[in-house]
């Protein structure tokens, strides 16, 4: 039995989200805070001002890239949970590009930084991909192990070759010619006041990435093959689709998308390479892809939602005794409800549709 598409992509995630928020409310209640008040603070903190929006969309940009990375791999039934490590390597790629030349203008630096982030992220995904495609080593295991290797590699580089003078294990600051215009500058040019925030042009890059991923998956032969392979490997082989080729290409694209996150986080905000440039965004990407049903539009919406959660959670910690970790709890609950407990909601909703949405004739025709 199938639901109408809108119910599948809008209604069910919405119900899942509300359930997750409800249970979160209970947790807040247990801490001894007023859940309604907490909710108000979070919403207001996330979208109540240009400052809030700035941070919300900044976080969302990170999540768009890592969410798309997971989503693309999902379509080939590959569970890439190495977004964290691939984004760390992407950060290295972006940093190397930014530090390589005294860039005269950001418009020149940006394309090369994109290339650097994408190539490094893809390269980091290529190794687990090859091991999966040729040796059958499970990609979940290898990608998560590569997260640790990536993190160790960055620490090593930041205390040796890339270390800037000073105490902190971080690179030198990028040249000014690499700084990306932020939302305040851009809105200022058209005379709109926008508070200072890390939101920068990378957000637009994220939107372009969403469109390109949609185009890839549903309008190109490669995307068709990726989806076919994801649904059935024997059928793919029957159709002359090479599992090796699809596994490699899909993971390269996935890794590149994760790596692009660094354009926002490293070039856009930190403007130097840090020990941890990703801050868990690689894992949030899994929740975003799950909730967004691996569709670019869904990923975009889920990413903004998680961005708001992050920003709202920060405000919550600031104004109440609710710890910032509450955001992690909510995030975990969202994953639990959208991923693991999806059928709990799907069953009753489908039943309700059958009972109330049943038009005589329509269903019997479909059954034939």
């Amino acid at each position: 039995m199938t639901l109408p598409k809108w119910a599948d992509v809008v209604l069910i995630p919405l119900i899942n989200l509300l359930l997750a928020l409800f249970v979160s409310g209970l947790v807040v209640l247990m801490i001894g805070e007023d859940p309604i008040n907490a909710m108000k603070i979070m919403v207001n903190g996330a979208v109540g001002s240009t400052y809030g929006w700035g941070y919300t969309l900044f976080y969302a940009t990170n999540f768009i890239f890592t969410g798309l990375a997971v989503a693309v791999a999902f379509h080939a039934r590959l569970f890439n949970i190495g977004g964290e490590g691939q984004a760390q390597l992407g950060a290295l790629g972006v940093a190397l590009v930014c530090l390589a030349l005294p860039w005269p203008h950001w418009t020149l630096a940006l394309p090369f930084a994109i290339l650097g982030g994408a190539v490094f992220g893809a390269a980091w995904a290529a190794i687990p991909a090859y091991l999966q495609a040729r040796r059958g080593s499970h990609i979940v295991i290898t990608t998560i192990m590569f997260n640790f290797i990536a993190s160790a590699l960055l620490v090593y580089l930041l205390v040796s070759a890339l270390k800037a003078p000073g105490m902190a294990p971080e690179s030198a600051r990028f040249p000014e010619g690499t700084f990306l215009p932020n939302a305040r500058d851009v809105f200022g040019m058209i005379g709109v006041k926008f508070a200072r925030s890390p939101l920068n042009v990378s957000f637009l890059l994220g939107l372009v990435a969403c469109f390109l991923v949609w185009l890839l998956l549903w309008r190109t032969r490669l995307g068709y093959e990726i989806r076919a392979y994801g649904h059935s490997e024997p059928a793919a082989i029957y159709a002359g689709i090479s599992p090796f080729r699809i596994t490699m290409i899909t993971m390269l694209i996935s890794g590149a998308l994760a790596g692009l996150m660094a354009v926002n986080a490293v070039q856009g905000e930190a403007q130097r390479l840090l020990q941890d440039n990703v801050l868990g965004a690689g894992f949030v990407g899994i929740a975003v892809a799950l909730m967004g049903r691996s569709h670019p539009v869904g990923v975009l919406i889920a990413a903004v939602l998680f961005g708001a959660l992050y920003q709202g959670g920060a405000e919550l910690e600031f104004e109440t005794s609710v710890p910032r970790e509450m955001v992690l709890v909510i995030q975990a609950l969202v994953i639990l409800f959208t991923g693991a407990l999806d059928n709990m909601v799907r069953g009753p909703v489908t039943g309700a549709f059958l009972r109330f949405g049943r038009r005589p004739g329509a269903t019997t025709k479909a059954a034939e």
Partner: protein, 543 residues
């Protein structure tokens, strides 16, 4: 209870006042699909009662209700006149119902004896149950020709023998009513005949047997009464002696059906496919095709008969570019690379080989794709489905509309997901896709497996039409009827080898059945034990 007490019931075979099973007003719905609608049936004791119907007619649902797997939405079950509730299979067994499933439920690495006793042990100690079962098995073997070595491991037995273990399991649990679901699907004709002899023996002892099948011939041969199901309803119950296959087919489908394929004699022309000494190594390093040679000419259908699992699937897959092999294969005189180095399924298609795979769910379709996405499957690189960098989905959908119309796919909806079509209509989508490529060679495996009778007729016509258009067709099927009626030549495969080639007009089901069991001397009288031993040896040969 032992056999003695069963036999000790004097009135068991005599006409009883009560039916062995009576169902009244059974209904069961899955979502919007009404699988069973107000079913009423009376099965008299000591009879073989056939239930026939197309796939999805509701036969299996009805039997699952009777065996306690599903709970009916409405209706009552009477066993020997007593109203009985059957909430689970334990209750069904307690009510004296035994079930032999299409897919056997046996523990592969247990012995026959252990399997028979499993779940029906008398106490914590196994030995008393085992020796009791051993005694019973010996008695049953003598009585009903149910010979099985009690100490053999299931994995070393052929399917015919495994099926017998299932029957023994039911009898050990004192079943008076035996339900068999499509029991002959995996048997050679001789084994099927032997099964029917067993069933007749059981009937003589007063057992009641329900035989579920889609094969009209079996119904006509062994049943006393037959009930026909269509679209969840019981459309008729008739005495087998008073009906005909044509009438039953009409009752099943709801219209007149041609049971025989209408075709003119073949006019074979030049050689299209030539296979020499083909060898294929399958999973676990076992050689599945052991050096076969065959050829197919333009304008003819070569049928490959055989029990499933004798290398036919591997043969099709090598030709279709899915597997690698060794040997020499030429298509229109040009050699085909078998190493997989520079050829795959895509290059095969480009050279004019179309492939309707044996398993449309696993290979032929992406079940979660729309119909129109499936119509381009495998041919998605073709220029007609593309414009530059992007796929031309509009062109693909237009093409799908045309194919849906031509092949009468129902519902005619290009946007419907493949899994939501019936088996027959799914197969029509695959057939339409492959045949409309106008291939030089069509590989077709099990073209009508799980397909309703109405669609079978249509699919057969399409295959014959392709032959008449001067194309070569290689047909693999485990249905002997289908092989006999479609093929212009028949090759029989057993254990990865071709046992012989016959012309349909000059052979018989019996002869083909013996070849299928690897017995080439078909003139002598072969006991069924030898056939089984042969088939088991083949199966057991896998290391």
């Amino acid at each position: 209870m032992s056999v003695d007490t069963q036999k000790g019931r004097p009135d068991a075979a005599a006409p009883a006042a009560h039916p062995a099973i009576e169902l009244k007003g059974i209904s069961k719905a899955f979502g919007p699909v009404q699988a069973n609608k107000d079913i009423a049936i009376r099965v008299m004791p000591g009879t073989i009662h056939g239930i026939i119907g197309e796939n999805g007619a509701g036969k299996s649902t009805l039997m699952s209700i009777l065996y306690g797997f599903y709970k009916a939405d409405a209706g009552e079950i009477f066993i020997a006149g007593q109203k009985t509730a059957i909430p689970d299979s334990q209750a069904a067994i307690a009510a004296g119902i035994g079930m032999v499933f299409q897919h056997f439920k046996l523990v592969e690495n247990f012995t026959v004896l252990e399997n028979v006793v499993l779940g029906a042990e008398d106490g914590a100690r196994l030995t008393p149950s085992l020796s009791k079962a051993r005694k019973l098995l010996t008695e049953l073997a003598a009585e009903y020709e149910l010979h099985v070595d009690p100490d053999a491991l299931i994995q070393d037995l052929g399917v015919g023998m495994q099926q017998r273990v299932e029957i023994l399991k039911a009898l050990y649990r004192q079943a008076d009513i035996l339900i068999l679901d499509e029991p002959t699907g995996v048997l050679t004709p001789a084994e099927a005949d032997h099964l029917f002899r067993i069933l007749e023996g059981l009937r003589r002892e007063g057992k009641t047997i329900i035989l579920i099948t889609h094969k009209l011939r079996e119904i006509m041969e062994v049943t006393d009464t037959v009930s026909v199901m269509r679209r969840g309803e019981m459309t008729a119950t008739v005495k087998t002696a008073e009906t005909s296959p044509e009438e039953l087919a009409e009752l099943m489908v709801g219209r007149k059906v041609l049971l025989q394929v209408d075709k003119a004699p073949a006019k074979p022309r030049e050689m299209v496919l030539n296979v020499e000494n083909l060898k294929v190594v399958g999973e676990k390093g076992v050689e599945r095709v052991k050096g076969i040679s065959l050829s197919v000419k333009a304008g003819e259908i070569l049928g490959i008969a055989g029990v499933a699992g004798n290398g036919q699937s591997e043969l099709l897959e090598v030709l279709g570019g899915i597997r690698n092999g060794t040997g020499r294969i030429t298509l229109n005189g040009e050699e085909i690379d078998l190493t997989g180095q520079n050829s795959d399924a895509r290059t095969r298609r480009a050279r004019g080989i179309a492939h309707v795979p044996e398993d449309r769910h696993r290979q032929g379709l992406i079940l979660d794709f729309h119909a129109w996405e499936n119509v381009g499957f495998g041919y998605h690189h073709d220029a007609k489905y593309n414009s530059g960098w992007l796929m031309d989905n509009e062109a693909l959908r237009r093409d799908t509309e045309a194919k849906i119309k031509k092949f009468d796919v129902r519902p005619p909806n290009a946007w419907q997901t493949a899994k939501n079509f019936s088996g027959g209509n799914q197969q029509k989508i695959v057939i339409a896709r492959e045949l409309e490529q106008n291939p030089d060679l069509l590989l077709v495996g099990q073209p009508t497996r799980g397909v309703d009778i109405g669609a079978i007729e249509f699919i057969h016509q399409q295959i014959v039409a392709l032959r008449d258009a001067g194309k070569a067709v290689l047909l693999v099927s485990v249905e002997l009827d289908e092989i006999m009626s479609l093929s212009d030549r028949i090759a029989v495969m057993f254990d990865g080898k071709i046992m012989g080639e016959r012309l349909p007009a000059e052979t018989s089901e019996r002869e083909l059945g013996l070849l299928m069991a690897g017995i080439t001397d078909t003139t002598r009288d072969v006991p069924v034990e030898e056939i089984e031993a042969n088939l088991a040896r083949k199966d057991g040969a896998t290391p």
